[in-house]
């Protein structure tokens, strides 16, 4: 048994970490945050050169053909940096669903462009987890879509959309199709793009789904990817807290010498440390232990969501007023953690799925 990363995996992680340290700072996070699109196109281009968009796409289509464990290492780094680029939607969900379920012509039409970073696909699956009543139901008839799709991930700058109805039927739509109207969603997370679509007789192609278990697997894979993002987010929040507590002085002492503050940092650490193994294991199971994958993915995301929420709050408190102020930027990671939590199913929803899987 070896529960450590291989040399190649360490290399992938380190190269993304270095690149992101170099390319992302608070200034350009703020700059992206001010735009409606959020996505940092220059950063996307730079990360494309490292192979980011094709990480899960087969080499035959120009991708890297790597496993989910590799993808989550990248995801953690994106979360750590607070990077404003598409990932969980376009790079993970769309690539996986088209790769495993798409027709030959769909694969040929989309995968090479996705792998090279020239194309991106925004993904709308919120309807699958939402308990809210949808007034604008998605209906497919005679090759045309009518209705709406909400909370599409990786929305800005997409060349295509992959949307699901309540019954797990998936449709591919070209971004320039007639009858499509788009709205950016003013999400609390200022580092990634989310949006809504309305369809009025829009041409769409159904994904030929033979086995809906594969849809489950792709959704769960994307959940593990979001969990890894939250782990990176939490690492940054903890690191910023510890650093700040060693600088900030009150009562003639750095605040990090007070037990009250030390214990907050120790609790964040104790919460966070075990998450890594849980997330790594879930990703490893996708590639090597498929029968264990779904349960572990659900446990990983629902657990990480809770940990990240606590860390986001505690880290803000360690920073005191400076955590509440915009200056330190702590809030960007606070918001990103909360966005991950509400995406692809709330913790309550995931735990209910996990209970059903175990026949409880």
């Amino acid at each position: 048994m070896d529960f450590t990363l291989s040399e190649e995996q360490t290399l992938i992680r380190d190269s993304f970490r270095r690149a992101l340290q170099h390319l992302v700072d608070l200034d350009n996070i703020r700059e992206s945050a001010r735009t409606e699109e959020k996505t940092n196109e220059a950063l996307w281009k730079a990360l494309t050169e490292l192979g980011l968009p094709g990480v899960l796409i087969a080499e035959d289509y120009g991708g890297m053909g790597l496993g989910l464990l590799d993808a989550i290492l990248i995801s953690e780094e994106l979360g750590r940096a607070g990077a404003s680029v598409p990932f969980a939607g376009s790079t993970v969900l769309a690539s996986m669903i088209i790769s495993t379920l798409g027709s030959r012509s769909q694969k040929e039409a989309w995968l090479p462009g996705l792998a090279s970073g020239e194309k991106r696909i925004a993904v709308g699956v919120s309807v699958l987890f939402s308990n809210r009543k949808m007034e604008n139901k998605l209906v497919f008839e005679k090759g045309k879509l009518n209705g709406g799709s909400s909370f599409l991930l990786d929305f800005a700058g997409a060349q295509g959309y992959l949307v699901s109805d309540r019954n797990r039927n998936f449709y591919l739509v070209e971004a320039n199709a007639e009858g499509l109207s788009k709205r950016h969603f003013p999400s609390v997370d200022q580092t990634r793009s989310v949006g809504h679509l309305d369809f009025k007789d829009v041409s769409a192609e159904p994904i030929p789904i033979e086995d809906s278990l594969q849809i489950n697997q792709a959704l769960n894979a994307a959940r593990v990817v979001l969990a890894a993002d939250s782990m990176g987010v939490s690492e940054t929040l903890l690191e910023k807290s510890v650093d700040y507590s060693k600088e900030r002085k009150q009562f003639d002492r750095v605040i990090g010498s007070f037990q009250a503050v030390k214990h907050m940092c120790a609790e964040m650490t104790a919460d966070l440390q075990p998450c890594r193994a849980l997330i790594w294991y879930a990703a490893y199971a996708y590639d090597h232990l498929p029968e264990e994958f779904d349960l572990n993915a659900l446990l990983a995301k629902s657990h990480m969501d809770g940990v990240a929420q606590r860390i986001a709050k505690t880290a803000t408190e360690v920073h005191g007023g400076m955590g509440f102020a915009d200056l330190t930027g702590v809030h960007f990671w606070y918001k990103r953690a909360n966005s991950n939590r509400a995406t692809l199913g709330s913790p309550k929803h995931l735990r209910e799925e996990a209970a059903k899987l175990q026949a409880l």
Binding site: M1, D2, F3, T4, L5, S6, Q9, L69, V242, S245, K246, R253, V254, G256, S257, Q259, V261, K262, H263, C265, A266, E267, T269, A270, Q273, P274, C275, R276, A277, L278, W280, Y281, Y284, H288, L289, N296, L298, L299, A300, S302, H303, G306, K348, R351, E352, A354, A355, L360
Partner: protein, 403 residues
């Protein structure tokens, strides 16, 4: 990352399974927990099982042959394989008393040849039982402030003072004990680590009743207890360093994710067996939600331990990941116990052995015992200081002048 056994470990797992199926009929009926709750001399069955495990190298396997062990090379993965296979088959593992888990590694590291030859074999075989004389009424978290005095008298020390929280003192034949031998030295430099028999004249034991209803701890009083100087382990004045190497072993002993998994699996059975208003408990949405949340934490700790084992195997130093185990594991166990008690509603209040009621008294006692472990072996708050100061490199608490 590759979670398959390497060939050597695959074969070893086979061996362990073979051992279990050959000797299952010799497994003693008393559980380790019952001994912890009510310390008493080990039964013949328990001792025979312990000797069998030691002989086959399934307990304390790295203890050298000349001291009664199997003399195996350290292999953290093999330890884990033994632990996992025994756990899966509900087979008791080797005894984990303080003597075995703390004194033996300390003697191996710091003891004289004579001390090792005399004490290690009977200790790992369970024939000699030790208690630990560390804490004092005024020295708990600040252990190094301990006041029990050992004054030179010819070739002996004369010991006077009091220890508390001494588990199993009533049944122990021997004690390993921290005493102040150099009263003028700095508090960390003046301590020596002594071993001596509990029947030495002047040793007085008073059981300490606890919230579990069992006197699992004691107070031990020393009045002019005479101990030869040769009974010091690791050198005069070196006791603090020697004790710290033992405490490290204790902290490892107090967390083990299989213990959490055991509780979780028992709870899962309760969820399927118990009913509320005719529906099995597992159908209740809040109960399901709470169960899965706990399951995720247990799974995280199990996998975290595996990751730590792999890192240690590759030669990694003690990391943040190791430092959190006692804090997180003990808290998790306690919460699991409390969840089980909730599931039994007022039946869960049962505190006396009554087999007719879903072992409710087991969970009550287990929860109190686990609360004790949150405090013992370095309180949760001390663990947080360690994580912050040693792990995150945060500044130490400024020392108050004169303290």
């Amino acid at each position: 990352m590759d979670l398959n056994d390497r060939e050597e470990h695959r074969l070893f797992r086979e061996e362990v399974r073979q051992f279990i199926s050959s000797y299952r009929h010799l497994v003693p009926t008393e559980t380790a927990f019952s001994y912890r709750l009510q310390p008493r001399p080990y039964s013949e069955d328990v001792l025979a099982w312990q000797k069998l495990l030691v002989k086959h190298g399934y307990a304390h396997r790295t203890v050298p042959k000349e001291y009664g062990g199997a003399g195996e090379e350290p292999d953290i993965l093999k330890n884990q394989i033994i632990s996992d296979e025994f756990f899966k088959e509900s087979i008791p593992q080797g005894l984990t008393s303080q003597g075995i888990s703390m004194l033996v590694p300390t003697l191996l590291e710091h003891g004289t040849e004579e001390q090792k030859a005399k004490w290690i074999k009977p200790t790992i075989e369970g024939d000699i039982f030790w208690c630990q004389g560390y804490s004092e009424p005024g020295s708990g978290s600040d252990l190094a402030s301990l006041q029990t005095k050992a004054v030179e008298d010819g070739d002996d020390f004369l010991i006077n003072g009091q220890k508390i929280w001494t588990s199993s003192a009533t049944i122990a034949q021997m004690i390993f004990c921290l005493v102040r031998t150099e009263p003028d030295a700095d508090k960390y430099q003046g301590i020596s680590y002594l071993i001596f028999p509990m029947d030495t004249p002047g040793v007085d034991i008073r059981p300490l009743q606890t919230m579990t209803g069992h006197p699992s701890f004691n107070e031990v009083f020393f009045t002019d207890v005479r101990v030869p100087k040769s009974q010091v382990v690791g050198g005069r004045g070196k006791g603090w360093m020697v004790a710290n190497s033992t405490l490290k072993h204790e902290r490892g002993m107090l967390s083990n994710a299989n213990g959490s998994l055991d509780r979780l699996l028992k709870i899962k059975k309760l969820l399927k067996a118990e009913t509320w208003n005719g529906d099995c408990l597992g159908k209740d949405p809040l109960i399901r939600d709470r169960f899965i949340a706990l399951q995720a934490r247990v799974q995280a700790m199990r996998l975290h331990e595996m990751r730590m084992i792999s890192e240690a195997e590759k030669g990694g130093a003690r990391s943040l990941g190791d430092m959190i185990c006692k804090l997180v594991g003990c808290q998790l166990n306690y919460e699991l116990d409390c969840f089980a008690i909730d599931l039994m509603e007022d039946h869960g209040l049962n505190f006396d052995d009554d087999p007719s009621i879903t072992s409710a008294s087991y969970w009550q006692k287990q929860s109190m015992y686990d609360l004790g472990l949150i405090i013992g072996g370095g309180t949760a708050q001390i663990q947080k200081n360690i994580i912050a100061e040693r792990g995150l490199d945060m500044p130490k608490e400024p020392r108050v002048k004169g303290a």
